[in-house]
């Protein structure tokens, strides 16, 4: 039974939020994770999300919006089902990040922060995603794709379009062969 009677979230997420607000010394500490988890489920941070999170945390909607506007992963409009985030920061730039971004623009026929007509893909040029040694790297939703080329990017996009790879659980990299040192 959720703490909120008419929650807009799934029972699982509502239950998770009920718990999340209790684990910190101060309830408000749950706000940033809640915004992100709510976005994961709803697709974006809607007015309804803002209202419910404010209620759950005893905050003004204004407080929630002030925090919401600060973090770059949070959005107030829907994105595509698969949000393609191309890093062009220095390490990726040196290994073809801009080429990859242009390739995605040409292939998907959309620009930065735009969504394809069928709502399947959206595209974003993002800042460093912490995959510098495996550049150029792209994140599709939360999945990392590394050491990409335009051809590999096509395969990645085709995989998502075919409904594969979206919920692919990350497998640990254990055992990947180390290259022979000279």
């Amino acid at each position: 039974m959720s703490a909120i009677t008419n929650t807009i979230f799934s029972p699982e997420l509502a239950a998770r939020f009920d718990k999340l607000v209790t684990i910190y010394p101060v309830k408000r500490s749950a706000l940033v994770p809640m915004l992100l988890y709510a976005q994961d489920e709803v697709g974006y941070v809607s007015d309804e999300v803002v209202a419910e999170l404010a209620e759950r945390l005893d905050l003004l909607e204004l407080d929630v919006r002030s925090v919401l506007s600060y973090y770059s992963m949070l959005r107030t409009k829907p994105a595509g089902k698969y949000n393609v985030q191309v890093c062009t920061n220095i390490s990726c730039m040196l290994r073809g990040g801009f080429e990859l971004l242009q390739h995605c623009k040409d292939t998907l026929h959309i620009g930065h922060k735009e969504t394809t007509k069928d709502g399947l893909f959206s595209l974003e040029e993002v800042e460093c995603i912490g995959a510098c040694c495996w550049a150029p790297a792209v994140q599709v939703n939360y999945d990392f794709h590394e050491n990409l080329t335009p051809a590999k990017m096509d395969a990645v996009l085709a995989g998502y379009a075919a409904g594969k790879g979206a919920n692919e659980p990350p497998s640990p990299s254990i055992g990947s062969p180390a290259p022979e040192a000279k």
């Binding site: 684990i23 910190y24 010394p25 101060v26 408000r28 500490s29 749950a30 706000l31 940033v32 994770p33 915004l35 992100l36 945390l57 002030s66 925090v67 600060y70 973090y71 770059s72 992963m73 949070l74 062009t88 920061n89 220095i90 390490s91 730039m93 040196l94 290994r95 801009f98 080429e99 242009q102 800042e127 460093c128 995603i129 912490g130 995959a131 510098c132 040694c133 495996w134 550049a135 994140q139 939360y142 999945d143 990392f144 590394e146 050491n147 990350p170 497998s171 640990p172 990299s173 254990i174 055992g175 990947s176 180390a178 290259p179 040192a181 000279k182």
Partner: protein
């Protein structure tokens, strides 16, 4: 998935469990896991801090503050609860070492957090990961749950009465600035990541007003290794005042990019040419950004320097986060400078005017310059703007933007001048967007 690389020159302390399945708690225990925590419980806080001080370990986030000293600053008694805050917001461009650490050895991070808690008398630790690291957060959450199930976290850990420690994992939601310690606390308190003025320092007034130790994830993961091998033995692996080893992420134009664990003081030249296999495609080296985007660039003839905090400072740059970004001869420094400042302008939180305005004007100037609308005075203006940001902001983001910018215009001034004369590199990477009338009027004189 990150490729795990290896080289004979590596000294594997922190990375010794990488690739061995240590995410599994039983595997971790079999590889000497959680022994250091039990030793720490047995020997007590004074011993822990003495070992940490003897180890010469300095903060791996970038500032290089001695860890043992940081822990010793926490007051023994406090009316408010004390906290350990682990900074896994890894966002410095060129840096992906914590990525590998969370992926391959999450329990070392947990153990380090407990040890820090035992050292300063904290009973709660937070492990904060950047929002983009969702799959790593899941790995950390599983590791924490497994540690609770074994009785290594919670009440009376390891069966010791009255020894309690809780760990809460937290996700960010996209913000470079939150990697700064005081902004990190704000974010964890559910606010915008705006820096706090110091003093008071977090060791005295930190999270929720309580004394707080904030350490980078790699720093904290070193603690169990130090306690097991002894602080002095760890110190000996490195150079004077720069104990131990460090995870270096080598990226950019090298043959074998990757995260390598090298002893502190290891030669930058060897890191590039030996460990990472030299410049990609046999091209010539142009420059190196030695420790993440915020570190002043080194020219090709400046790389005979040891990778420790003091030698890098002497060379006029910083060891920073250990992210070594290698540029070959084809890179346009004008373009590289533009991409760098675009990042800092995007990430400036806007709280301090010199940073907010400075990054914006440098970006505008460089965008126009890059597009072919520059003039000689722009180069001076860029330098003037950067110099006036230095040391004038609450947090180091202003400096982090200004320092590399100064490096670019001072060390590569001739390249900026040649750019004006039309000697541009052939293949510019950043698309030129038409810029309107000179926006610079009145910016800086």
């Amino acid at each position: 998935m990150p490729t795990i690389v290896s080289h004979p020159d590596e000294v594997k302390v922190l990375s010794r469990r990488f690739g061995k399945g240590a995410t599994n708690i039983d595997k971790y225990i079999a590889l000497d896991g959680y022994k250091a925590t039990q030793l720490a419980i047995e020997k007590g806080p004074e011993w822990i801090i003495a070992e940490m001080k003897a180890s010469g370990l300095r903060g791996r986030g970038g500032a290089g503050f001695p860890t043992g000293m940081k822990w010793s600053f926490v007051p023994k008694t406090s009316d408010k609860p004390k906290y350990i805050l682990v900074n896994g917001d890894e966002s410095e461009p060129g840096t992906c070492k914590d990525h590998v650490l969370f992926l391959e050895d999450p329990h070392a991070v947990i153990e380090g957090t407990i040890i820090a808690g035992l050292a300063v008398g904290a009973k709660t630790g937070f492990i904060y990961l950047r929002g983009e690291y969702r799959y790593l957060l899941k790995i950390m959450e599983k590791a924490v749950a497994d540690a609770y199930a074994k009785g290594f976290l919670g009440k009376n850990i390891f069966g010791k009465d009255g020894v309690d420690f809780e760990i809460i994992t937290q996700t960010g939601a996209g913000a470079y600035e939150v990697g700064e310690e005081s902004a990190l606390m704000e974010s964890l308190e559910g606010k915008r990541g705006i820096p706090r003025i110091r003093p008071p320092f977090p060791a005295v007034v930190g999270l929720y007003g309580g004394p707080t130790v904030i350490n980078n994830a790699e720093t904290i993961a070193n603690a169990p290794h130090i306690l097991l091998m002894g602080g002095e033995a760890y110190a000996k692996l490195g150079t004077e005042r720069n104990g131990g080893t460090r995870l270096f992420g080598i990226s950019g134009h090298v043959e074998r990019p990757g995260v390598y664990e090298l002893p502190m003081g290891y030669s930058l030249r060897d890191a590039i040419y030996k460990v990472a296999g030299g410049i990609k495609g046999g091209k010539a080296l142009k420059a190196v950004v030695p420790g993440g985007a915020s570190c002043p660039i080194l020219k090709a003839d400046e790389i005979d320097v040891g990778l420790d905090f003091d030698q890098m400072a002497k060379a006029g740059t910083m060891l920073g986060s250990g992210g070594i970004v290698v540029l070959d001869e084809t890179v346009s420094i004008v373009e590289f400078a533009l991409r760098t400042i675009r990042f800092y302008q995007h990430e400036s939180c806007g709280w301090c005017i010199p940073c907010r305005e400075g990054t914006d004007w440098i970006k505008k100037t460089l965008t126009r310059f890059h597009a072919g609308g520059g003039n000689k005075k722009d180069i001076d203006n860029i330098q003037y703007l950067a110099e006036n940001m230095m040391g004038r902001t609450f947090c180091p983001l202003g400096d982090a933007a200004a320092m590399p910018t100064l490096g670019f215009v001072k060390k590569f001034r001739s390249e900026f001048e040649e750019y004006l004369e039309g000697k541009r590199v052939e293949n510019l990477l950043i698309q030129i967007t038409p810029v309107g009338e000179p926006e610079l009027a009145g910016a800086a004189h």
